[in-house]
């Protein structure tokens, strides 16, 4: 009995230490923004934010797997752009939306396999592999499109990035939250998630525990590649145009969300809920500052300060 309650209490404490702290920060930010801007706490705007973060959130799910396994993927922005270009090219060439989508997903898969293989079998640090593929894939985008956007895509493709479910909830929001749910189950509730975390926390011990370390390492890059493909599709659909220069710097936005969500760059630590909250927090800050029309010079300053405060407050909440 007593044991039971202690366990529950401890569980709650652990939750507090991680996600609840961030949740409080997020709510606090929302309250502040709602106070200073009448346009913030509007259903429509809140849904808007979820659509704005949908790309980062989707890619962040893949990145979280990579980070949990102790690696990093800098190529996510280029991969997303390339997949977007491939989708647009496929749609324009074949006239079939689904072929375009399939091509994008296939390419994402391929990029993941290449990254993973170079990391695992050629034993090159993932930072270097993905730095190289980041450049290579961006170059391929540029060569493929000759540096110019591919436009005039079929209007019906815009559903993914710009459409609504029930006339109010953005499709992109629904898609990204579904993916979050899938990754939540995969990472917190299946052995695969446990294995990925184990590999990142202590690779040697994971090997000794009869885990297929190499296979899982490739797998996380494949997950990242696929999520990039979906992210690229959302971007392309939103603009109804594939930009070869799309998603430049996406890796930093995604990493920020993941790390703000409590993940550790050295692997083994991080949660889906944390990543969700981290990405939302950054989205809310961006949106709120834009609504307040804070000049771009000051936005960066204010954003930096908010992030530092958020982490400090979260930490202190945790140790209370």
């Amino acid at each position: 009995m007593n044991n039971q309650t202690r366990t529950l209490g401890r569980k709650f404490m652990r939750f507090l230490r991680g996600e609840l702290g961030l949740l409080l920060i997020l709510l606090l930010l929302c309250v502040v923004f709602a106070y200073v801007s009448p346009y913030f706490m509007v259903e429509r705007n809140l849904l808007n934010i979820t659509r704005q973060v949908s790309i980062v959130l989707t890619v962040a799910m893949g990145m979280l797997c990579v980070i949990l396994s102790g690696e990093i993927d800098l190529s996510v922005g280029s991969t997303a752009a390339l997949c977007g270009v491939a989708a647009a090219w496929g749609m324009k060439t074949t006239g079939n939306i689904w072929l375009g989508i399939g091509l994008a997903l296939g390419l994402g898969l391929l990029v993941g396999i290449i990254n993973g293989t170079l990391v695992v079998y050629a034993r090159i640090p993932s930072f270097i592999v993905t730095l190289a593929t980041m450049g290579i894939l961006r170059g391929v985008c540029m060569v493929w499109t000759n540096g110019k956007p591919i436009s005039n895509l079929p209007e019906s493709f815009s559903v993914l990035g710009a459409g609504y479910v029930l006339n109010i909830i953005p499709v992109a929001t629904v898609v990204s939250l579904l993916l979050v749910a899938v990754f939540y189950v995969m990472l917190q509730r299946t052995k695969h998630g446990t294995y990925i975390k184990a590999i990142g926390a202590n690779r040697e011990a994971a090997t000794l525990s009869a885990i297929h370390v190499d296979r899982y390492k490739v797998l996380v890059f494949v997950a990242a590649g696929l999520m990039c493909a979906i992210g690229g599709l959302i971007t392309t659909s939103k603009l109804l145009s594939a930009q070869p220069t799309a998603n430049v710097g996406l890796e930093m936005d995604v990493l920020s969300g993941v790390i703000l969500g409590g993940a550790s760059l050295s692997g083994g630590i991080g949660t889906v809920v944390g990543t969700l909250l981290g990405s939302l927090t950054i989205g809310v800050i961006n949106n709120g500052l834009n609504l307040l029309n804070v000049s771009s010079y000051y936005q960066e300053i204010v954003k930096g300060i908010i992030i530092i405060f958020a982490v400090v407050i979260k930490r202190n909440k945790a140790t209370q």
């Binding site: 801007s37 346009y39 509007v42 429509r44 705007n45 808007n48 659509r51 704005q52 540029m142 000759n146 540096g147 110019k148 956007p149 436009s151 005039n152 815009s158 710009a162 971007t235 939103k238 603009l239 109804l240 145009s241 930009q243 220069t245 799309a246 998603n247 430049v248 961006n286 949106n287 834009n290 609504l291 307040l292 029309n293 000049s295 771009s296 010079y297 936005q299």
Partner: protein
Amino acid sequence: QAQAYTIGFAVSTLENPFFVTMKDAAEAKAAELGVTLMVLDAQDSAETQASQVEDLITRGVDLMIINPVDSDAIGTSVIACNNASIPVITVTRSSNSGTVVQHLDIDNKEAGKLDAEQLIKDLGGKGKVAILEGFAGSSSAIDREEGFVAALEGSQIEVVASLTANYSREEGATVTEDILQSNPELDAIYAHNDEMALGAVRSVAAAGRSAEIKIYGIDATDDALAAVESGEMAATVQQQPDVQIQIALENAVKYLDGETLEPLVNIPLKLIVKQ
């Protein structure tokens, strides 16, 4: 003897369709003139551009066409070319020091002014406009802002929001979403380039406010021309990057053949609206 010429072209960035058009035209023209062209892309970094000019000097080009990232920062590089006796032609942005044999100017302030004038006309001199800014601190963004804002003086047009979207279509779309949220009443959006304007077009359409909000851009890229034609954008300003570089290359060959050049050529700007 034209075959023997090697001309360097240091371009500020190829991540922007405007300069991609310029590069494509340059390559076509170079082939036509029979000169060897070396194109180096500084990716908008003044420091990288300085290094690339060094490399072009090392390579011993006969003449250099520079599209500076920054007019001040390019000065030392132009002086280095002067010291190496390599003639320099600048396009789009000038150099604030050193000597160049010709400068082909695009007046970005003028471009902003043209959009502003059209906007005043479209709105009947009264209304609310939001601005999508280019890279914070880039000279084109600063000039396009200045020209636009100056031309609004005296009208009853109010700038209700001014936020950066870094010349990117994606960010143009995202920032526009936020602007639409905080401005239930908005009559126009002026973007420092067409990419951001096209992003705004998507967000405005998604919000179902296409009828009330007019969108203005600069550059006249292919997508923007189509958007103006279809009525999604109200206007864009043609700066004719292709014409500009064609003239630059022709003049380069002339100069190398011994002719003297006018120090300044102004590329005419053209406002594009629906026919």
